[in-house]
């Protein structure tokens, strides 16, 4: 194992390179990521044996990925923001056809106004697309999750696409020290994709046929059930990855939850700030913790209920707005999760950081203070607030 300097984008590209990807298809224009830019360098330098398909749009990029995946190839792509939005209809097709594609996403805002900076609006806009959705906090996690995502997606019990999400610019363009595995270790962890491929001239079949009202529902119901297999497979993958890396992943990671009265739940880079502030506050005797969610889809319902059991209040941080909805997307999931199970748990939904707006230690400390105030008896059960926006 060696430690090298990589941005979040480069960390994902480096991981994909070690994963011996057969096909990459991408549309190289803003808002793309350095992920495929870096990967195309590997291809040009002959460092990988990958078919790199340049296409005319993200719509075509994911279409090409789906076709390649159906032939049994290991397929990778990356995008961001508008690019993911343009992929929207193909996202559903990739998951419905059970293509274990892995995609790196540098999460960025959606137009208008035009803005290229980080928030979770892109992935949240496609959160119901049937993909496994993982959020990494930093470049190390981005690297580790990319490798694990291939194993998870290609698990015969799963066969679903995965997205590995990193906060645009904050993680995608920041360089950090990343411990990378030896090529051989990754190869042993991730053997070539096995199993039958859908496209095989010796066994003619119909892929993506029409299914009208008499059949469509059964296919969707089955797809909902397949999602339920992901948590078990994920545990298996994370346990084995721990063996080769010494790093242990799972559905989420907790800090300071022992005896906590309130906790922040968040995804991505904000978790680092939350942990830093929680540590300082705990040093002063405040009972605050952090739950950083790695696995957003499928949402780890039962595990989160157990994790939050002792809390009086929870602060759910959403880096996206669900227009017209009562809460941000993560908070809606959380409230659905605790309903009827943790009836006394109060919820503060903090919507923050849109379009790359910085979230500061002071902001986070304010949220903890407010979370602690909400834990008092008279405070309301639920509140929504916007953090860091000018009135």
């Amino acid at each position: 194992m060696k430690r090298i300097g990589l941005t979040g984008d480069e960390a994902i590209a480096y991981a994909a390179k070690q994963c011996d990807v057969d096909v990459v298809s991408a549309y190289p224009i803003t808002p793309q990521t350095i992920i495929v830019e870096k990967y195309s360098e590997y291809v040009a330098n002959g460092e990988v044996d990958t078919e790199f398909i340049n296409v005319e749009s993200e719509h075509s990029a994911l279409s090409a990925c789906i076709g390649a995946s159906l032939t049994g190839a290991r397929v990778f792509t990356a995008t961001a923001s508008q690019g993911l939005a343009l992929m929207h209809e193909l996202l559903y097709i990739a998951s419905s056809l059970r293509c274990p594609i892995v995609m790196g996403i540098a999460n960025r805002s959606l137009s208008a106004p035009l803005n290229i900076h980080g928030d979770h609006s892109d992935m949240m806009g496609s959160r119901d697309c049937g993909w496994i959705q993982i959020f990494a906090e930093n470049a190390q996690e981005a690297y580790d999750w990319t490798i694990q995502a291939f194993r998870l997606s290609e698990d015969p019990e799963v066969l679903l696409p995965s997205s590995v999400n990193i906060d645009g610019f904050i993680i995608s363009h920041s360089m950090e020290g990343v411990e990378v595995l030896e090529d051989e270790a990754v190869r042993a962890f991730l053997p070539p994709r096995s199993g039958a491929c859908a496209v095989d001239p010796r066994r003619p079949s119909t892929i993506g046929p029409v299914a009208l009202p008499d059949y469509y529902f059964e296919f969707k119901r089955q797809q909902a059930e397949v999602m339920k297999r992901v948590p078990v497979a994920l545990e298996r993958v994370c346990r084995e990855f721990n063996r080769i890396s010494g790093r242990r992943y799972g559905k989420f990671q907790s800090y300071g939850m022992d005896g906590a009265r309130t906790a922040i739940i968040c995804m991505g880079s904000a978790a680092g700030t939350a942990r830093h502030v929680a540590k300082a506050l705990r040093g002063k005797g405040e009972r605050v913790g952090v739950v950083k969610l790695w696995l957003y889809r499928p949402f780890p319902v039962d595990e989160l209920v157990r994790e939050l059991e002792g809390l009086r209040s929870v602060v759910v941080m959403d880096r996206a707005i669900s227009f017209g909805a009562p809460f941000g997307p993560l908070c809606s999931d959380l409230i659905g999760t605790i309903h009827g199970k943790l009836p006394k748990l109060k919820v503060l939904n903090a919507i923050y950081g849109l379009g790359g707006r910085d979230i500061t230690e002071k902001d986070v400390e304010g949220l903890y203070r407010e979370g602690l105030r909400m834990a008092e008896a008279k405070a309301p059960m639920v509140r929504v607030k916007y953090v860091g926006v000018r009135e």
Binding site: S96, L97, R98, L159, A198, R203, P204, S205, T206, I207, G208, P209, A211, D214, Y215, F217, E218, F219, R221, Q222, E225, V226
Partner: protein, 94 residues
């Protein structure tokens, strides 16, 4: 293909909706979509096979003495009637 006949439940439908046998569209009879049906006037028909070439659904069948419409699949689009050079096909309301 058996899925089409048996109305399988969600546990048994094939993953990804992939139909593992070829030619399953033949099982899907589309004749009921029709509101007008093409009728061939055998006396006028010159057996030129223009209708056979133009039918987008292969519902015009070649038979020994010319052509016949396969009403199990014909959707009644009327292309055959429009293309027939001797106006030997008329569209009748179902």
């Amino acid at each position: 293909m058996s899925a089409l006949k048996e109305k399988l439940g969600w546990r048994k439908v094939p993953p990804g909706g992939t139909i593992s046998e070829a030619g399953s569209s033949a099982l899907y009879k589309t004749g009921a979509w029709r509101s007008f049906k093409p009728v061939i006037d055998k006396a006028k028909c010159t057996k030129c096979l223009i209708c056979w070439i133009y039918c987008p659904d292969m519902a015009v069948k070649r038979v020994n003495d010319g052509v016949e419409i396969d009403y199990e699949y014909c959707k009644g689009c009327g292309i055959c009637a429009a293309e027939c050079p001797v106006k030997a096909i008329r569209m009748e309301e179902e």
